[in-house]
Symmetry: C2
Subunit: 146 residues, 2 copies
DNA sequence: CTTATAATGAGAATAGTTCTTGGTATGGAA
DNA sequence: TTCCATACCAAGAACTATTCTCATTATAAG
């Protein structure tokens, strides 16, 4: 089992918080490294298998969120999806399928991202909102549902 | 009680679907007309008062969503907020407070919106995603939590 | 004013998630 | 190694937002 660069970064971050990088936590990180977008507990449970019981899976997700390793994403009713935090995955946006609800990561090239950031900053300043980040969701039909 | 232009539009839309514009439904629309952003069932319940019981409120929200009058919005775990659909309220974006979770509408001027739309179209096309809409959420601290 | 249909209200039921409890594993000190 | 303190884990109960059920009430059309 080769350890990815992301896993090494997670390991270091967890160590800083005196949190152990156990089997269950490793399994979640690996599943998310391989995924192409945010995944819910149920989706991760399928990807990982019965090796991590549901109650532990939720606790693992909570721990990884608290330590800043995972970021929550909300786009479907009553269901939280998680993805690797931006310091691990890089700033990106999302394609949301309005048919099946799946969310896919979207990497935006640097010049375009700078234009987006500039627009966002201008708009936020115009209403005196102290902006810390932005999220752009493009809605439409994914390849499967098209 | 003065009837707003939005209420008249809702009335017409509901009539087309053979759905009645009853007191409870009217109360929800009025609350959302006065609100400055998407509201959850619990938040609406506070705004409207006990005159609309919880079970009816949820059903009302479902009916208004099905008829295309309301649009759901997800930004907090396990909780759906609703706002007037874009054909009633116009296209807009959101300011999301990362402290209290409240969401506020953000009207963007036409030239800026066109720039955003152009960027989104370009990006979507570059990954062959059939885009139907986009949503920009600016995250930060609201006036209360700043 | 009757009648068919739609809507309502109260509470039971459900789904996703969180908490509790009792037991297990791990890393460091002796 | 052995012990201890501190995570960590598994199973199921509990919780919260939401949906469903069903008996009752309101509404519009004839």
């Amino acid at each position: 089992m080769v350890e990815t660069a992301i896993e090494r970064q997670v390991e270091r971050r967890l160590a800083e918080s005196d949190v152990r990088f156990t089997r269950g936590r490793r399994a979640v990180i690996q599943a998310l490294v391989e995924a192409d977008g945010p995944k819910s507990a149920a989706e991760l449970s399928v990807l990982i298998g019965a090796e991590v019981p549901v109650s532990s899976l939720y606790r693992t997700l909570a721990v990884l969120e608290e330590t800043g390793v995972l970021a929550p994403h909300y786009s479907s009713p009553g269901l939280t999806r998680f993805e690797l935090a931006e310091w691990l995955l890089g700033h990106h946006h999302h394609l949301v399928c309005i048919d099946c609800g799946q969310v896919e990561d979207l990497a935006v090239d640097e010049p375009t991202e700078q234009q987006i950031q500039a627009l966002v900053s201008t708009v936020a300043k115009s209403v005196s909102f102290s902006e810390t980040n932005h999220a752009l969701e493009i809605e439409g039909h994914c390849a499967k549902c098209a």
